[in-house]
């Protein structure tokens, strides 16, 4: 098969680039080895924490003056795909985390409540409602955090006969399985009624993010129906809003005519004269996929875009150059919660995001997203930002700005 561009990696970055290209009239295919890290999303997107200083070589520095313009494009872009984001283009807001703390972010999925950074208004009396027997939502931590911030909290739980089925299984009381039960219809109404019955004099209700795998309508319905402010707080993975976002992007991409090769893995490459000619995949075997341009958005270590061994850090598909500390003990910090240096390792690129092999940039292989070297996804809060903005940049570069 032949395409204008083949995108390897179907997560946030890969899908963003693929959609942009497809919208500009290119034919594209996405090779996605398993589901993406969007499944572990917080339901919010960070661009850069306030006060963070960009280290030298950060991917943003390669985007240059277009960065602000790209940031302003995020909301309209997702809106086209049916993912409604809110947030302010120019300043960060706060999200309430599953441990009752506040975390900076720029945008959020529409049902996720955002708070002003200076003085988050969490209400005076808060009712925290969990599903009976659901351990992936830590009500005690949320309550403790909010009480520190001055609220009074009460913890309750709801038990519906429909939940009994998943509870029967020792392992499957998971956010996604609850979300499936609460997709709509009678059970959702029953759930809403049960929560309403628990509200006494509270001005705010906190619920786990278990609403709306396919679209956000169940979450919005809950919000509208409770009669008091409703704040959704994330659960342990998998993330319901994250899965929804992934599914909506993919559905939109395919509706544009894009080819999404789910569960396939690029395994072979054909490079000649510093130009990638084709890739082969595990499933398609001898049927090589050809394209004019290739985007490498296979993610970092978790997603296997980067591989590591005691010998060092490599990019396993193309064998392109990586940037990392050669002295292994320097990869880590002893405190788990300190910034871990290995998280900044990644694929080296030139100023135009071309991957480099043996010191020479490849003419038509671009790297985008969390495979890039120089990020600081946790300390800088730039994880989603790098994924989306470098995808925009690469798509622009391929189409000469048509996207």
């Amino acid at each position: 098969m032949k395409f204008n561009t083949i995108i390897i990696g179907g997560g946030l970055s890969g899908l963003t680039a693929a959609i942009q290209l497809q919208l500009s009239g290119e034919s594209t295919a996405v090779i996605s080895a398993g589901q993406s890290a969007l499944h572990f999303s917080s339901g919010t997107f960070g661009i850069l924490n306030s006060g963070a200083v960009l280290p030298e070589g950060h991917p943003y520095s390669k985007i240059g003056p277009k960065l602000q313009d790209y940031i302003a494009r995020i909301k309209p872009f997702f809106a086209k795909a049916g993912v409604s984001l809110h947030g302010n283009d120019s300043r960060n807001m706060l999200r309430l985390t599953p441990t009752g703390t506040f975390q900076e972010c720029r945008y959020a999925m529409e049902e996720v409540e955002l708070f002003d950074a200076g003085n988050p208004d969490i209400g005076n009396k808060v009712l925290i409602v969990n599903v009976q027997g659901f351990f992936d939502f830590n009500t005690a931590f949320i309550a403790q955090g909010l009480e520190k911030a001055g609220a009074t909290c009460r913890i309750e739980s709801v038990s519906l006969p429909e939940f009994g089925r998943v509870r029967e299984s020792p392992s499957e009381m998971r956010s996604v399985n609850l979300a499936r039960i609460l997709e709509g219809g009678g059970t959702l109404d029953e759930f809403i009624a049960s929560v309403k019955a628990l509200i006494k004099d509270e001005d705010t209700v906190i619920l786990p993010e278990i609403f709306g795998l396919r679209d956000s309508s169940p979450a919005l319905k809950v919000k509208e129906s409770l009669g008091v402010r409703c704040i959704f707080v994330g659960t342990m993975p998998p993330s319901v809003p994250g899965i929804r976002c992934q599914m909506q992007l993919r559905r939109y991409y395919e509706s544009l005519g894009g080819i999404f090769l789910m569960g396939d893995e690029a395994v072979g490459v054909n490079i000649a004269d510093s130009t990638v000619k084709a890739v082969s995949t595990k499933n398609l075997g001898a049927h090589w996929l050809m394209a004019d341009n290739f985007i490498l958005s296979t993610g970092s270590f978790f997603s296997k875009g980067l591989a590591s061994s005691p010998e060092g850090v490599t990019e396993p598909l193309f064998g392109v150059d990586t940037s990392y500390d050669k002295n292994r003990p320097e990869w880590y910090r002893r405190d788990f919660f300190e910034s871990q240096p290995y998280m900044e390792f990644g694929v080296a690129t030139d100023g135009g995001f071309h991957a480099i092999k043996d010191g020479i940039p490849l003419t038509n292989l671009y790297a985008a997203g969390s495979i890039l070297a120089g990020r600081g996804p946790l300390t800088l809060g730039c994880g989603a930002g790098v994924a989306i903005l470098t995808a925009f940049a690469v798509a622009d570069s391929i189409t000469g700005g048509k996207a």
């Binding site: 029967e168 998998p238 569960g263 893995e265």
Partner: protein, 415 residues
Amino acid sequence: MKLQEFTSSAHNFEECMKCTVCAAYCPVVQVNPRYPGPKQAGPDGERLRLKDPIFFDEALKYCLNCKRCEVACPSGVNVADIIQEARMKYGKSKPRLRDRILASTDVMGPLAVPFAPVVNFATGLGVTKAVLHATMGIDRHRTFPKYSSRTFEAWFRRNALKEQRKYDNRVAFFHGCYVNYNYPALGKDFVKIMNAIGYGVELLDKEQCCGVAMISNGMYDGAVKHARNNVSALSKAVDKGLKILTTSSTCTFTMRDEYPSLLKVDNSAVRDSILLATRFIYEQVESGAVKLAFKDGYKARIAYHTPCHMEKLGWGVFSKAILARIPGVEFTALDSNCCGISGTYGFKKENYGVSQAIGKPLFDHIASVNPDFVACDCETCKWQIEMSTGYKVLNPISVLAEALDLEKTARINGF
């Protein structure tokens, strides 16, 4: 060897990051609480079973072996293989008579075909269904696939064999049990298309059922026997330089992937030569070797369903491309969801409810699209969707045979 340069484990169970994505895509977890879920049944359970086989859980039998966990896994863990292999290694429950009958597609076929009208009449009767439900545990809601009164092989020998000698280019056809006993028309469509694009068709020397039904019913010894037989039959064709084409995604997947990974039958000599007919045709057209001419005025609204094993195979892209490029076709790719039948699984009365619940999202999607018909590359999905939605289901090869102007196609390809 460099130490720790890479790590490996049986079916990659150790690469599992415990991210739980597999559980999010398991169709069984959503409807059957007795099933421990792919993560628990697979990589988690494997560590416990290695400690002590006492940790084998018979509830692993609820796994459909649909492989959707493997498609979803970001870590490349062969979750379903781990589960199936554990069943093979530790399972104690023996298949029931009912399971044996359902699994033995190429034993029952030859018995039924000579009496097809009677068998079809009988299996269609409410009273028969009730008896089978009560005595055999075959759910009364199920419509038995009709048996054909003449096998595809018999038809081929009598009506097509001679014709095939005209072609210099040949392909071998693994027709599978369904084409042979239940729906020879699909085989005939396949032969027509191949002939039109300039290929003669050969049958294999002693084809047997691919064994998928035996695997899912726990009849592993039988499945291995079939696998060995088929690999040897396929080898003969490959030795002649032939590609082996199929019209069933499940047979294809089983012979390519389940033989080596589960049944430990080495198929390396033939694996890359086994192709779905849609992939073969796509590649011929793409390379310019073959041209297709379509009927004027063909019109159809087609919704394509990706069967589970097709999803795992990753070849839906070929069937979809072929259908979508037929002039006059309004094409919708349905969200990839399990239909719930999983071969013989849904035929068992204890599974009927689960089976239908699994399929519901797919059925709902079909209804909302409201196509002229559904296209899909799997025969058991066809039964399930037809029974559950009332929409007709056609194999893409049959759709193509209908849409093509076969004579014109033959002409422009020089035949």
